[in-house]
């Protein structure tokens, strides 16, 4: 007999999704994770637009990672125009990404993930004994917002026109706040490292950016456990496909599902994790690599500290103001990969001699995680069925698993268009 488990309107994730599981003889025979967001066709929307207007449009793909879309689009277009960013520009971009990461992780950890582990329906229902945790979360979110606002002009959908001079006073304020937030972050790590996660181990590949000196955010090599990927070759390795039942795309790396996000970054960047974080990991007996997808929550908590330390170091060594390079419009082709809160984000553009976009391809983190999520859900349910877990508990664990991935279905859904755009361009060029 075929049993079905349907989860309609999964809550506490970004965007809209349904899960449909078919089970026969205590084995999962079908696992469909369906994004149910309407397609917004972003890649088609920028076709024919001037280079200057692109960032304003693509940042609207996602309210959570708008800084990542902003930075990725600007960097890809700069590459197309053969412009090298100044040190100050890179500095601003790094901080924009860090601010966004802090608020995104804090929102996910406390508001979306944590309530599950206390059997509560939402963070609003956590009792007075947890009030401090929520206050910590809000103060971390506020700090992240403040950073994005100072460097990007507003909290969501930032501007990236470099200002004449960065306001020194607010940087000092941010520096103090970063330092003051550390005890809260260390508490966060303790909290999430000690939650009871389901034991669920599996092997997979992890993809992210890697830099020799820094924990990479906006540049670096694209690495996986199986080796390096050249920026320009990313499409040969990462293939997107459309599945009949969903409005999002699904990506495979060399025909295999893989994982991006905090867990991938921590696993692949062990060498560049700062000493303070390393010490805390030792104290808490956290050993790498992470192999349990639920541990993405711990990885995110650790990243809060890594990025806070990174931001402090950056601000303390702020570069001098430099003259901006002038923009000369020419035709070109550029690709940029950056680390968004949820994982590696690719933006690729071709522009013509009038500075108009003729091609655009965007691959978001959730698109890359979807296959792995489906395979993990199937694996987990099989394990739970073997352990004779109750149906109610299965649903609960599956929801926890989906949330631990911190999926963003807004991001994953505009990308239906990729394929037809490629066809469109191949046919017209």
């Amino acid at each position: 007999m075929v049993r079905e488990i349907n989860l309609n309107h999964i809550c506490k994730i970004e965007g809209h999704a349904h899960l449909n599981l078919k089970i026969e003889h205590n084995k999962v025979i079908q696992c469909h994770l369906k994004a149910s967001e309407g397609a917004r066709f972003f890649e088609a929307l920028v076709l024919g637009k001037q280079v200057k207007d692109v960032q304003e449009i693509v940042s609207r793909i996602c309210g959570i990672c708008s800084s990542a879309h902003t930075v990725a689009s600007i960097q890809a277009l700069e590459e197309a125009l053969n412009i090298k960013p100044t040190r100050q520009q890179k500095f601003i971009r790094e901080l924009l990404m860090i601010g966004e990461r802090i608020r995104s992780h804090a929102t996910h950890l406390y508001f979306l993930a944590l309530p599950d582990y206390y059997n509560k329906a939402s963070a609003l229902q956590l009792g007075p004994e947890h009030k401090e945790k929520i206050n910590d979360a809000i103060s971390l979110i506020t700090l992240g917002n403040k950073i994005v606002e100072v460097f990007g002009g507003r909290e969501i959908h930032p501007f990236l026109d470099i200002k004449e001079e960065l306001p020194q006073t607010s940087l000092q304020g941010i520096l103090n706040q970063l330092k003051q937030s550390k005890p809260k972050i260390i508490q966060t790590i303790n909290l999430f490292a000690n939650l009871q996660y389901k034991k669920f181990e599996r092997k997979t590949d992890y993809l992210c950016l890697k830099d020799d000196k820094n924990y990479a955010n906006i540049s670096g090599k694209i690495v996986t456990l199986s080796g390096l990927i050249n920026d320009n070759n990313y499409k040969r390795h990462i293939k997107e496909s459309v599945k009949e039942y969903a409005t999002s795309k699904f990506a495979l790396q060399n025909n295999k599902p893989y994982c991006v996000g905090s867990i991938a970054r921590i696993n692949n960047n062990q060498a560049t994790i700062d000493n303070e974080t390393k010490t805390i990991m030792q104290q808490l007996n956290i050993s790498l690599p992470f192999t349990n997808p639920f541990h993405n929550n711990i990885a995110q908590a650790l990243e809060l500290l890594i990025h806070t330390n990174q931001a402090i170091k950056l601000i303390e060594n702020m570069p001098q103001k430099e003259k901006l390079h002038s923009t000369v419009i020419k035709s070109g082709h550029g690709i940029s990969a950056v680390e968004a809160p949820r994982g590696t984000l690719f933006h690729e553009y071709k522009i013509n001699e009038h500075g108009k976009v003729t091609y655009c391809n965007i691959i978001t983190p959730t698109v890359q995680n979807l296959n792995m999520m489906e395979s993990d859900i199937a694996g987990l349910v099989n394990q739970l069925l073997e352990e004779k877990t109750s149906r109610k508990q299965i649903v609960l664990e599956v929801e926890k698993l989906i949330r631990s991935y911190d999926p963003c279905f807004s991001c994953s859904t505009h990308f239906l268009k990729v394929n037809w755009l490629e066809e469109y361009n191949e046919k017209t060029h």
């Binding site: 970004e14 309407g38 996602c62 959570i64 929102t107 508001f111 609003l124 979110i141 506020t142 969501i156």
Partner: protein, 263 residues
């Protein structure tokens, strides 16, 4: 779990929902201090972005973010309309269509030819603001919406005060702030025809106004076009800018004005 009655009976029942969109508007609500205050003023009964047990019964005010991008969105909207005394369009997408509504101005034949037959499971509709499908009582414009305005709105409805959007254009606030005029600097800024209330956020950050709050009631688009012509811009360039967020509304506004002039 039922909450204690004395806490909730007095407060307005609020729902916060999203259709196809980026979640930026809903995040604006939870970011920072304004959320704590809103949470104290009203009873947030439903908020699927951060809540699991969402109330399914009648609501006083229902906030909706996002653009209608496929049939399911319309079904969601109609259900929400039935349950709610007042519908509040939250943010540019829901108010004027936002960035996704740009698709209305693309060559649909071309889009269709390439989208189908391969992806015929995709039922996409023309991206439209929510008032094309249901009656909307209030608008909180802008992309992303202004925290100040959201809070002002909640304060107004909880204390029975009227809520009105400013009718002045963005230029009004921009001048007041003493910003140098981007139009005069050779950038195609939509400040003169766009509804203010955003404190001229974009021009203050050296970015042109893309018209995300839609046309201001007194906008003279005709005169603006003439001005731009003098400055050497083509009609096409202006239209492309107007289409970024509120293309549908600017177009309707222009058509209404011209028929009104003819009368």
């Amino acid at each position: 779990m039922k909450q204690k009655k004395e806490n909730t009976t007095e407060k307005l029942k609020i729902g916060l929902y999203g259709i196809s969109g980026c979640a930026g508007c809903l995040l604006t609500v939870i970011y920072e201090d304004c959320f704590t205050e809103i949470n104290e003023l009203v009873d947030i009964k439903a908020f699927p972005l951060i809540k699991e047990d969402n109330y399914k019964g009648p609501l006083d005010y229902c906030f909706i973010e996002g653009t209608v991008c496929f049939d399911e969105d319309i079904i969601t909207l109609k259900k929400l309309r039935k349950r709610s005394k007042y519908i509040v369009a939250l943010g540019a997408c829901s108010h004027v269509g936002g960035v996704p509504s740009m698709k209305n101005f693309l060559n649909k034949d071309k889009v269709m030819r390439f989208v189908y037959p391969k992806y015929n499971h995709l039922k996409s509709t023309n991206p439209t603001p929510i008032n094309k499908h249901i009656k909307v009582d209030y608008y909180l414009p802008q992309c992303p919406p202004s925290k100040k305005e959201i809070l002002e709105f909640v304060q107004a409805i909880t204390s029975n005060r009227p809520f009105r959007l400013t009718e002045d254009p963005v230029c009004f606030e921009c001048r007041k702030k003493g910003n140098p005029c981007l139009l005069n600097q050779g950038q195609l800024c939509l400040g003169p025809i766009t509804r203010g209330g955003c404190d001229a956020l974009c021009p203050t950050n050296d970015t042109i106004c893309y018209g995300c709050r839609g046309p201001c009631p007194d906008a003279n688009i005709h005169a603006f076009k003439e001005l731009l012509k003098e400055k050497g811009y083509t009609q096409k360039e202006l239209v492309a800018k107007m289409q970024t967020f509120a293309g549908l509304q600017f177009k309707e506004f222009e058509e209404e004005k011209s028929t009104w002039l003819e009368k």
